[in-house]
């Protein structure tokens, strides 16, 4: 078993999985029906991506399944980024989180298409089409909220400011990144930072949103298995049923 490759797939799978779960929590609560369906569709796309990566992770690990990885792992065994664990504070938070992640996923999957690992490349080829759509949608909403009313601009600025501190983790390298780079499986996370800023900054500026200062928030990261206080609650809800009824099926 290749531990680093497993870790790499878990990071991709878990990040999409937890973001999808957060979006799932929001189902039926969006400000309008059309938006409710649209954001839930994004969540379903992410769940599909998570399933593909976790299936591959299960294959690498051996003797397990994507479901088992999802429902039977402990918090410290998850590798999702902190940003996707943040709560659905309001519509502006949900949209800003999505926008930051869509920009990141776009750059990441564009790169992973040329991965030497055929499975990762295949999943990324399919995912990039979905991500391109997600990004169009979320960047339009950033503009709409930023230039909407004084109140919508203010709420968006608060969300961007609060979530900004979670974005540094996106570009922190650990041993898994170095393994991925050396074996032509994926990029160094740090190599995506400049392009990410170039995607994010013009959208924020056009939306009359001030780009926050880049401050290092934490030295403990989700990709290393250290999580925010939120993840435990997410997993408690997500894993509740399979833990109570281990053999439950649809």
């Amino acid at each position: 078993m290749n531990n680093k490759l497993l870790d790499f797939c878990l990071r991709l799978g878990d990040t999409s999985l937890i973001l999808s779960h957060r979006i799932g929590e929001y189902c039926s609560k969006a400000p309008l029906l059309e938006e409710d369906l649209a954001i839930t569709n994004v969540g379903l796309d992410l769940l599909g991506q998570a399933e593909s990566f976790l299936k591959y992770a299960a294959e690498i690990k051996g003797n397990t399944t994507a479901d088992e990885l999802t429902f039977k792992r402990k918090e410290k065994e998850f590798r999702c980024l902190h940003l996707v664990q943040t709560p659905n504070t309001d519509f502006a938070f949900i949209l800003s989180r999505q926008f930051f992640m869509d920009c990141f996923h776009k750059l990441l999957f564009e790169n992973l298409i040329s991965s030497k690992d055929e499975t990762i490349s295949g999943i990324s080829k399919k995912a990039i089409k979905e991500v391109n759509y997600h990004l169009k949608r979320s960047s339009e909403w950033m503009t709409r909220l930023g230039l909407g009313t004084e109140k919508s601009n203010e709420k968006l600025q608060v969300a961007v400011d609060e979530l900004w501190m979670y974005t540094d983790e996106l570009f922190i390298d650990n041993e898994t990144d170095i393994f991925a780079k050396e074996n032509h499986i994926g990029p160094l996370s740090s190599s995506l930072k400049k392009d990410w800023s170039e995607l994010v900054t013009p959208v924020l500026e056009n939306a009359s949103i001030k780009v926050p200062e880049n401050n290092l928030f934490s030295l403990k990261y989700g990709k290393n298995g250290f999580h925010t206080e939120y993840l435990g609650y997410i997993l408690a809800e997500m894993q509740h049923l399979p833990l109570l009824y281990p053999d439950a099926i649809w």
Partner: protein, 96 residues
């Protein structure tokens, strides 16, 4: 967005494939045309229903009034000679 402002009403038309006519499939609410287009995609095309979308502001559609029904449509009720099938084709006429 705490009030009931759901945006304006748009009508959605889909084309099944290139070259086929656009057909009305439903409506939706959105604040602007970009949002309406994306909502149309998300609401009406997730199951391969089509590969082309038109959206039109509902208020831009000029519609006949129900009260005009008698004046507009009833007069054609008893004029079956307006249908080509009313006429007998003389024998020997070709290419029809």
């Amino acid at each position: 967005m705490a009030n009931d402002d759901q945006g304006i009403l748009w009508e959605v038309f889909l084309r099944v494939k290139a070259g086929r006519p656009f057909k009305h499939v439903g409506s939706l609410h959105a604040y602007d045309k970009e949002m309406a287009m994306k909502a149309a995609r998300d609401l009406y095309t997730r199951r391969n229903e089509g590969n082309g979308i038109w959206i039109v502001k509902a208020e831009d559609i000029v519609s006949s009034e129900a009260s005009d029904g008698e004046a507009f449509f009833d007069p054609s009720d008893d004029k079956i000679y307006r249908h080509p099938t009313f006429y007998k084709i003389p024998e020997g006429v070709k290419h029809i």
